[in-house]
């Protein structure tokens, strides 16, 4: 597999207008690189990041086959 699966939730999903997309992994080393690939605007200051369903950060390393999710602060419970 040579792609990264990107997922969006809640308000971030509304901004992108879709629940997710696959992007080619070539050249992408961090979650920040993934964001720059999918968005022309900088990430919001309170953006949360998960890599393979575990919390990470924009500087988390990513590789082909990973799942990267971007979402706003959570409100469960």
């Amino acid at each position: 597999m040579s792609t990264i699966k990107v997922k969006y939730f809640a308000g971030i999903r509304e901004q992108f207008g879709k629940a997710g997309e696959d992007v080619p992994a070539a050249g992408l080393q961090t979650a920040a690189d993934v964001w720059r690939r999918v968005s022309p605007v900088p990430p919001p200051a309170n953006l949360l990041v998960a890599v393979n369903q575990e919390y990470g950060a924009l500087d988390s390393a990513v590789q082909a086959g990973d799942e990267v999710a971007f979402f706003p602060p959570v409100t469960g419970g």
């Binding site: 997922k7 939730f9 809640a10 308000g11 998960a50 369903q53 575990e54 919390y55 999710a69 979402f71 706003p72 602060p73 959570v74 409100t75 469960g76 419970g77």
Partner: protein, 145 residues
């Protein structure tokens, strides 16, 4: 230790009764205390009446996160059992959203673990509430109280 994320409504008190009936012999008769928290949808929030709610979640990560905090609670306190149930999907005011329960030999561990589980869940579990108000639908903002 059990966790469940589901779309359907649940009766937290029936879930507790069912769970206790099924507890292994290592728990039944050994637990001096059971601490329970039930969170339900209020009909008023942040200045507006709430008529309905849609609860979004991250399938896969929600379950993994609830399992992780349950394991963490059991490593921090001397517990016999834990139970976490959380809904997603459409909800109406008055309906339970989340059940957290912890069983221990003595009450201190059960109280502390129950508080830890609900606080951690509210801080980091990947759920997002969208509430329906007279002014339209809006995403609930995190409450840091």
């Amino acid at each position: 230790m059990a966790i469940r994320v589901q779309a359907g409504a649940f009766d937290p008190w029936q879930e507790l009764a069912d769970h206790e009936a099924a507890q292994a012999g290592s728990v039944a008769g050994k637990a001096g205390g059971a601490a329970v928290f039930v969170g339900s949808l209020r009909d008023f929030n942040q200045g507006r009446a709430v008529s309905a709610m849609a609860l979004e979640h991250y399938p896969g990560m929600t379950e993994a996160y609830l399992e992780m905090i349950s394991r963490e609670a059991r490593s921090r306190w001397d517990l016999l059992d834990t139970l976490v149930i959380h809904r997603h999907g459409p909800l109406s005011p008055g309906e339970p959203i989340v059940l957290v329960a912890a069983w221990s030999v003595h009450r201190a561990d059960a109280f502390a673990a129950c508080r830890y589980l609900i606080d951690e869940l509210k801080t980091r579990a990947p759920f997002w509430k969208r509430e329906q108000t007279p002014d339209g639908a809006r995403w609930v903002q995190p409450d840091r109280s």
